[in-house]
């Protein structure tokens, strides 16, 4: 450091003796203290205008190849294609995911709270791909569910529950619900509902299993905002899907008219 200082100053100013003296005096001095004069801040987008570093790209390659192999691992079989068709009142893929979420989250929720989940409501947009007929791989599960959303149980009162039903009717989207909730709409208006086989069951509050995206008001599901309670169960929707696929051999999911329009 000291050396550089002396050299550079010598070159530019040619006042060697003085500089040497100064340099010497620095030796006995405490380190310099610096103060900020100016700060500039910004962010730089990392996009296709930047050519990738070749060394890093090569380093990633074997991991990428190994990962691709892992993604090809077959977990289950589906005799039919499970679809997420947007124009139907319900979808086979939606039903499958909602039901497995209920099944897999129920014990976790019960362990945490001693309560039971009343039903499931997820969003149709959360399912990003169909599950094609044939073998179902790890990669397929990631395609269906690329998001990192976690399951959460939101407790809402009866009024919010009615808001939920009204939302469902108007939205026309086949948002996945669990098999134990049956909804009947006519001209987008609720005609009747049944929960666990009981028609128009009125409860003080409803424990709804959903994902954290919706619980925070995503897809304008505002009835989930400011709930009576919310219980995070630290379980990703995709992990629930993967666990279910590992547990079963063959997917046996049909439409069961849980939503009628």
């Amino acid at each position: 450091m000291l050396k550089i200082f002396t050299k550079q100053t010598l070159k530019t100013l040619n006042i060697a003796p003085l500089v040497a003296l100064l340099a010497l005096s620095f030796l006995s001095c405490t380190p310099k203290v610096y103060k900020i004069n100016r700060i500039e801040g910004k962010q730089i987008a990392i996009d296709s205008t930047i050519a990738p570093n070749e060394k890093v790209a090569q380093f990633i390659l074997p991991y990428q190849e190994k990962l691709n192999k892992e993604m090809e691992v077959i977990l289950a079989y589906t005799p039919t294609t499970l679809t997420r068709e947007r124009n139907e009142p319900e979808t086979s893929l939606g039903n499958f995911v909602a039901d497995l979420a209920l099944k897999r989250a129920q014990t976790k929720f019960y362990d945490l709270t001693g309560k039971n989940i009343d039903f499931v409501l997820l969003n149709a947009g959360g399912l990003r791909s169909d599950l094609n007929k044939g073998n179902v791989t790890v990669g397929n599960a990631y395609e269906v569910m690329p998001f990192e959303n976690s399951l959460i149980v939101v407790e809402i009162d009866y009024d919010k529950f009615l808001e939920l039903l009204e939302y469902y009717g108007v939205s026309k989207n086949p948002h996945p619900i669990s098999h134990n909730l049956k909804l009947t709409f006519k001209d987008d208006k609720l005609e009747k509902y049944a929960l666990n086989g009981t028609e128009n069951l009125k409860l003080k509050s409803y424990y709804v299993l959903t994902n954290d995206y919706l619980a925070n008001g995503g897809d304008n599901m505002n009835f989930f905002l400011n709930p009576i309670s919310a219980t995070e169960i630290n379980y990703k929707v995709r992990d629930a899907l993967l666990d279910e696929l590992i547990a079963i051999d063959t997917i046996n999911q049909t439409l069961d008219n849980r939503v009628e329009r």
Binding site: Y34, K35, V56, F59, E70
Partner: protein
Amino acid sequence: MKRRDFIKNTSATLGLIGMSNFPVYGFNSENKKHITVLHTNDVHSHIDPFPATDTRNPNQGGVARRKALIDSIRNENPNTLLLDAGDIFQGTPYFNFFGGELEFKLMSMMGYEAATIGNHDFDNGIDGLFKQLPHAQFQFVCSNYDFKHTVLEDSVKPYQVFIKDGVKIGVFGLGIELAGLVDKRMYKETKYLDPVGITQDVVKKLKNDEKCDLVICLSHLGYNYKTEKISDLKLAGLTQDIDLIIGGHTHTFLKKPTVTKNALGKNMLVNQVGFAGLNLGRIDFYLDESGNVTTDSATIIV
């Protein structure tokens, strides 16, 4: 690679910097210093760019590109510090299959110098994090997690002091409250301590004992909340002597770094750059020998 290519998306902030065309002083002077701080947060195991078919961020991000960008900035200014504000783990199958090994190895290749710990970095448990530490050639800093009686006790430091071109830079870390966010079985005996009290102590130490010229907080508290929950903006207003808070957790995309006031009413910066390695934050500090600076507050251009 020309610098212009990298700043094309920041045209809103570019105007002032570009037009004024500051003479580049500081490089050849012992009195004037230029320190560049680069930072990421919540990269969440995003190694590859998002696929071209991605609806939100098509063909954006990617570690190999980030490395190229970092190298070009280091060529421009060797006195560059590279930091990460946590949640390195979880978000792509790379983490599920390799447990964070690749993330740490790549960060080491990119030349990261310090990182703090995010809640998702506990996703394979404190033991899962500890297991990957040999792959991290950079220092983890966190001052408000008490790791006594855990495997991380000797690995994580409250702060680290870096010296760049004679300028002393103190970097300390802050983590978010884990209870209710992370399963206790994952973080085990880790104790969360009040970030505000800890910050006051650490900053005092960095300023008075370590004689730091710059103090940077690497925070995973989150940018801002509607509730009383402690956040980067709240922390800024409750403390003093921090020059820059680099935040994370809330995946906040800011159009530009936030200029805010500390407890003494002095301007300082809070920044966060979204998530998934879509952006690189860049803060340039121009310093002068203490006696040459007459004003107490620096000019901030964002």
